[in-house]
């Protein structure tokens, strides 16, 4: 379960930064909100890059399928990226209502996405990938930078 553990921990870390930024925005502390938001978006985008450049290709090579779950996950990454852009605009404009509203959409979207990955995709990766491939993929993911 090394893939599941590593990736789940990353999801949880992103949630924590996101929640900190949301709370700061609600309090009107925009400097702190910006700090939390930048950390959240950088970590989320790095996490997506790890999946799209290392984990998904390894899964696709093993299963011979590039049209199934990984394609859906890539599509959902694009939805999240588009929301990150909108959140950045609201943050820049210090528009509290818009920021908090977009936070709602982002959280539901992201949590649905994370659940699918954690309950199905990561579990499948841990099951189908040979242990040496898993170790190798994990090492490569740890080296990915934004």
């Amino acid at each position: 379960m090394i893939i599941s553990h590593y990736m789940k921990d990353e999801h949880r870390a992103c949630d924590t930064h996101f929640a900190a930024a949301e709370q700061a925005a609600a309090n009107g502390d925009w400097a702190k909100a910006e700090e939390g938001f930048i950390t959240f978006s950088n970590e989320t985008l790095t996490h997506f890059k790890k999946e799209e450049e290392e984990l998904f290709p390894a899964f696709e090579a093993q299963t011979g399928s590039s049209e199934g779950p990984t394609q859906v996950m890539r599509f959902e990454h694009e939805q999240v990226k588009s929301l990150i852009g909108k959140l950045a605009h609201a943050l820049e404009a210090q528009d509290k209502d818009a920021y908090l509203s977009l936070c709602e959409s982002m959280m539901i979207l992201l949590q649905q996405h994370n659940m699918k990955e954690e309950q199905m995709l990561y579990a499948m990766c841990d099951r189908v990938l040979p242990s040496d491939v898993k170790e190798e993929t994990l090492d490569k993911m740890k080296k990915v930078v934004l």
Binding site: D15, A19, Q23, Q79, L100, S101, S105
Partner: protein, 428 residues
């Protein structure tokens, strides 16, 4: 294999499918308010026609409609079940269902056998059809989550509720001899409230509490065993009750313990949420779970004291439990779906969730809902207040109907006038 798990791009059901059942439920809710004004204090006599009519308006017309909205929405998202032709299925369910509920309500009041016959045909046919369709889809899943397993147990309970109800309506219409009427009625009521309503809320909460509020997951002990234990307990009690009706006392004690345990575990999760903001939906959840605890407390008291007002309080707080949680889900689902569908269709001008329903609007509904439940509780003792409770019920469901209409009109308006991302321009 993933497509079987419903992980398709087109995973969200059409807006109209979910909205129509929320709308139907809220209209029946307003009807419940009218019935309270009409029957007044008679509703607190559990054996009266007034109580039976109001109970079925709330459980069938309101709750079952809301539960259908939740199932159509949640099955693809949290269980990975994609229902084919959802609009056709929703049509096949909605119209016979509404007519069936109305026929049943009239049948209770007119004691007309033919109306019981029509109600049985329409409700039995439509509810069993959708239950079996959903059950079949869940059973073909290759990868189960705690929620999908829980939904399975809830749907099995719904099927049993309907089958038991068919026996009761056949007895009332004098088609059969009512030999087992009392035992079947007890089982019908228990499967309805604890097997169907409570189990469905429990199964959905396993995933939405974590998803909406970013809390730690439920303990595996709860997610793995609670739904099966509840269903098993109800099945066993029903069988045993034909020989020893007193078994329901033991069952009630166990139900109280299990449901209080669930409420406390969930309340604890809500205190551990990572998102520190507390919006109306969190308060609706807390109110719902608090109501469940109160309902179980009064149910416990009825085991020792046979007092009608204590029974009424137990029913009232159980209703508050289920409605509060429906409202909590409603204020997340409706704004999210409106935004999600328009955003996925490429509209730049898709309204944000707060523009569909503002959190302040949800909070106002919370205050109306709290006032409704409080006035109801007092009106059990001061019957003159029943009138006010009826008016507040109408206001509460009227508020909800207005939000659905507003969201839908906004959706249509954006589709007609909104600016859309042009694929050709994007390439240029």
């Amino acid at each position: 294999m993933f497509s079987q798990n419903g992980l398709s791009l087109d995973q969200a059901p059409p807006l109209s499918v979910v909205f129509r059942f929320f709308f139907t439920g809220s209209i029946f809710g307003m009807l419940a308010g009218v019935l309270i004004l009409f029957y007044q204090a008679d509703i607190f006599d559990a054996h009266s026609v007034a109580a039976v009519t109001l109970t079925h308006t709330l459980t069938l017309g309101v709750m079952l409609s809301f539960m259908f909205a939740a199932l159509f929405q949640m099955l693809p998202v949290i269980a990975g079940v994609t229902l084919k032709n959802p609009i056709k299925k929703a049509n096949a369910l909605q119209y016979p269902f509404i007519l069936g509920v109305l026929a049943l309500l009239f049948a209770f009041n007119l004691s007309a056998p033919w109306l019981f016959g029509i109600a049985s045909f329409l409700l039995g046919g439509s509810v069993l059809f959708i239950s079996f369709t959903m059950l079949k889809n869940i059973l073909t899943l290759t990868h189960h989550s705690a929620s999908s397993k829980g939904m399975l147990t809830a749907l099995i309970s719904l099927v049993l509720v309907v089958i038991l109800a068919l026996y009761l309506t056949a007895s009332l219409a004098s088609f059969t001899e009512a030999t087992y009427y009392t035992a079947i009625k007890e089982a019908h009521y228990s499967f309805g409230l604890f097997g169907w309503v409570a189990l469905l809320i429990i199964s959905i909460s396993f995933q939405v509490i974590e998803m909406f509020y970013v809390t730690p997951p439920y303990p595996t002990l709860v997610t793995k065993y609670l739904p099966n234990t509840l269903l098993g307990l109800l099945l066993l009690s029903t069988v045993v009750s034909f020989f020893t009706p007193l078994i329901w006392v033991v069952t009630d004690v166990l139900l109280i313990l299990l449901l209080c345990g669930y409420a406390l575990v969930t309340l604890k999760r809500l205190t551990q949420k990572k998102r520190p903001l507390t919006d109306a939906t969190v308060l609706f959840w807390r109110m719902g779970l608090g109501s469940l605890l109160l309902s179980m407390l009064f149910m416990g008291l009825t085991l020792s004291y046979d007092i009608e007002s204590i029974k009424s309080l137990s029913y009232l707080f159980f209703t508050s439990f289920s409605l509060s949680i429906v409202f909590a889900m409603f204020y997340k689902i409706v704004p999210f779906l409106t935004w999600f569908h328009l955003n996925s269709q490429g509209y730049f001008t898709a309204p944000m969730m707060h523009e569909v329903i503002h959190p302040k609007t949800a909070k106002k509904h919370l205050y109306i809902h709290i006032a409704t439940v409080a006035i109801f509780a007092v009106s059990i003792f001061i019957s003159e207040l029943t009138l006010l409770a009826g008016l507040l019920t109408m206001l509460s469901f009227g508020w909800m109907s207005y939000q659905i209409i507003h969201a839908y009109l906004l959706y249509i308006k954006t589709q007609k006038t909104g600016e859309k991302f042009d694929m050709n321009m994007g390439n240029g």
